[in-house]
């Protein structure tokens, strides 16, 4: 419900902005995610996110981007006091970022520096025991992306994103679970107009 509302907002903003838009490009990328919290890293290690984003440039140096990132991570439950059992786990996260960026004019490449908000929907499942948890939350993000044109409308694309994903769920006394971290992505971008 919340996700649909946000998507609608993105669409409306996108349409409104495209009236004044100067250019639009789409990027498809994949890479690696390193969680900020030790607990996450201990259980899942680095993750492999895939992202699809649209980058809308306004007249001037500003623009708006929106998209979707999908992350799936397999891990196994950590034995707190030295047990030998294996409990495979799967973690999945779907993220809908909305970012306002600044793109200084540079020769030969497009650089974008952005900040915004993302809606996250996540799910953790134990594979061999009927145990699971689902949740949604909003969190801030900052990003830097670069496009290096290679041929015609096609560019090489790279981005670095830092997100905070505060779930509000308490893990141990005091520590609340934050699913955020740093992700580095590489791929291609296609200039639509």
């Amino acid at each position: 419900m919340k996700a649909r509302g946000l998507l609608g907002l993105v669409l409306v903003l996108g349409l409104a902005a495209s009236a004044r838009a100067q250019g639009l490009s789409l990027s498809l990328s994949a890479g690696v995610f390193a969680a900020g919290q030790e607990t996450y890293r201990e259980i899942y290690g680095p993750g492999l996110p895939v992202a699809l984003e649209g980058w809308l440039n306004f007249r001037g140096a500003f623009g708006l981007s929106a998209g979707v990132t999908w992350l799936r991570d397999d891990g196994s439950a950590v034995a707190v006091s030295g047990g030998g059992e294996q409990y495979p786990l799967r973690f999945e996260r779907l993220t809908f970022p909305l970012t306002i960026f600044f793109a200084p004019r540079l020769k030969g490449l497009v650089l974008r520096l952005g900040a915004g908000l993302a809606f996250h929907s996540y799910r953790e499942k134990w594979q061999t025991v009927d145990l699971g948890f689902e949740g949604t939350c909003l969190g801030p993000r900052v990003c830097a992306a670069v496009e290096v044109p290679i041929a015609g409308r096609l560019s090489l694309f790279g981005s670095l994103v830092y997100e905070s994903i505060p779930t509000g769920v308490e893990y141990t006394r005091g520590e609340r679970i934050n699913l955020g971290g740093l992700q580095a992505l590489g791929g291609v971008a296609f200039r639509v107009r």
Partner: protein, 567 residues
């Protein structure tokens, strides 16, 4: 003169600076912390608040300014009862049984109602013992923190009523040996001391009588434990022990106070206390007589406490020392007024705190099976007015068996509390029920059966993901000769409704129980199975305690409901 005028303000400023630089003394307040919010247990524990009393709806705690600030910050609902708390021994919990009680208390000292039926009383003028109305029972705040023993209630429902309740022929034989004539003679003997008001020589003589009676029964040990009470008086608890054959260090207690009271004008010379509490004392002695000849797995102590009427002095002394010595007390059966029936059939009221509920459940079953008596459970941590409550304060499981709650005996704390008012049919049934529970828990050793397994331990192993966790219990025990295998049982409620986990007997001495919920306690026992298929008594319980590792604040709660036994 001029110099002096300058000197004065400088001196005052220096004085002020000095005063400010001194470490602040910490004035301590007596506060009432409301229980209603679930996380309050965790918060109290995290803040290490000095809780001195658990009541039904609140805790009473000592808190300095820092504690108060921390409580506020954590949004714990509390109110201050006494801003400058003095000595702890000065605060008494008293029941508000009649409408005018609070006014009367406030006329005699300072008092505040902390619950509809419970007040705290304190005074700086004289001993509270002398100031409090004699008909009011009283309990001082615990002399040490009860925080280590507080545990948030776990919502566990008993799966099935005791449909499988099994009438143990040995226990049946033992219960039948409780004799009405024996009880009658014991109550008469105790009443014949005229008064057993603690501090009188007759009370000490009654203690001597109990000691001699215990000594004549052929138990393993009988001794006095003297203590000082109410700054200067002396009295003695009388203790008899039957040492366990299998578990000498794990103790079950059956107890009652032998001292008595009547109004202040008469109590030095006349306080017959037939119901309160020659009845409970007689039942304790009778239980000792019946069990003396029978070998039991666990140690049983028969205790007659003194100075109960003065504020539970004997039992506070005993329970405090037991905790300091790290004694393993499995359960306490406290009998106080079990012989008066205002109408027949009379039910036996069983009062417990949350952690002791299993004792009440077991007494209800035993009363039904072995004494044809209806017993009723009341979970009320505010009912602290007898010798069970010092055991609660020390984290032990204890029950109070009492004829009525609220009391209906019109001779309560009067010179008219005499043997002729007692109902011996009800009394004998009450004594039988409590003896049956004691025997069930202490486990008669049976000839020809495999020996009870020993050395059971349970090690928890926690496995956690980001949002969930499961636990395994690794059990191990000592090999027992003459045993061809073992059965392993589990329950979430101590001493109740054990469920067997293995199909065929386990031939090794280890067992792993997987996929346990992290937030529940688990209790295990094992039995030995002999070559002919006979099964031994239960071992002592090994516990896996619940973890606070995960405290979710969201409502998309852990989907624990159906724990698949994977594989």
């Amino acid at each position: 003169m001029k110099r002096a005028r300058l000197f004065l303000p400088v001196f005052m400023a220096c004085g002020l600076l000095f005063a400010l630089s001194l470490p602040r003394s910490k004035p301590v307040s007596l506060v009432k912390v409301l229980k209603d919010r679930g996380p309050v247990w965790a918060v109290l524990e995290r803040l290490q608040i000095d809780v001195r009393q658990e009541l039904e709806t609140c805790f009473l705690a000592l808190a300095d300014r820092e504690d108060l600030r921390a409580l506020r910050k954590n949004r714990v609902a509390f109110s201050i009862i006494d801003r400058e708390a003095g000595g702890i021994e000065d605060y008494f919990i008293v029941p508000l049984r009649a409408p005018g009680t609070l006014d009367e208390l406030q006329a005699r000292g300072r008092a505040a109602a902390v619950e509809p039926r419970t007040a705290v009383f304190w005074t700086t003028a004289g001993l509270p013992m002398e100031v409090l109305p004699s008909e009011l029972p009283r309990k001082p705040l615990s002399s040490s923190s009860v925080l280590p023993f507080l545990r948030a209630p776990v919502d566990i429902k008993r799966a099935a009523p005791v449909s499988a309740a099994f009438q143990d022929p040995v226990v049946e034989v033992l219960a039948a040996q409780v004799s009405e004539a024996g009880l009658r003679s014991l109550v008469q003997s105790l009443q014949d001391f005229q008064t057993r008001y603690a501090s009188t020589t007759q009370c000490e003589a009654a203690g001597e009588f109990i000691y001699n009676t215990f000594s004549s029964l052929g138990l393993d040990d009988v001794w006095f434990e003297p203590f000082v009470f109410s700054s200067g008086y002396q009295s003695r608890n009388v203790i008899a022990e039957k040492t366990g054959e299998t578990y000498a260090d794990d103790v079950l207690i059956i107890c009652g106070h032998y001292d008595s009271i009547s109004p202040s004008a008469t109590r030095q010379t006349l306080a017959p206390g037939a119901d309160d509490n020659a009845s409970g004392t007689a039942a304790v002695i009778e239980a000792a007589r019946v069990l003396a000849a029978y070998p039991l797995d666990f140690t049983v102590r028969f205790i007659a406490f003194s100075a109960e009427e003065w504020g539970l002095w004997g039992s506070r002394d005993y329970a405090g020392k037991a905790r300091t010595a790290g004694e393993s007390i499995i359960g306490v059966i406290n009998l106080d007024m079990i012989a008066y029936a205002d109408a027949m059939p009379e039910d036996l009221e069983v009062i417990v705190n949350g952690r002791s509920e299993w004792l009440a459940e077991r007494l209800i079953a035993a009363a039904d099976l072995y004494a044809d008596l209806t017993a009723r459970k009341t979970v009320d941590p505010s009912f602290v007015y007898s010798d069970h409550s010092p055991f609660w304060d020390q984290g032990y499981r204890a029950l109070l068996a009492i004829e009525d709650n609220p009391l209906r005996n019109p001779t309560y704390h009067q010179t008219t509390d005499t043997i002729d008012k007692l109902n011996f049919e009800f009394f004998t049934a009450s004594a039988r029920a409590s003896l049956a529970l004691l025997a069930e828990l202490a486990q008669p050793v049976r000839e020809g059966y495999p020996r009870t397994p020993i050395g059971l331990t349970a090690e928890p192993v926690v496995y956690r993901s980001l949002f969930n966790a499961v636990k395994s219990a690794r059990l191990s025990w000592a090999a027992q000769a003459g045993t061809s295998g073992y059965n392993v049982y589990r329950t979430n409620m101590s001493h109740l409704d054990y469920v067997k986990l293995n199909d065929a007997p386990v031939t090794s001495t280890t067992f792993t129980d997987d996929h346990l919920r992290i937030d529940l306690p688990y209790y295990y026992v094992v039995t030995g199975v002999g070559t002919t298929g006979l099964e031994s008594n239960f071992s002592r319980e090994a516990e896996i305690s619940p973890d606070n590792l995960m405290m979710t604040t969201q409502t998309q709660v852990l989907n624990f409901l159906q724990m698949l036994r994977a594989r």
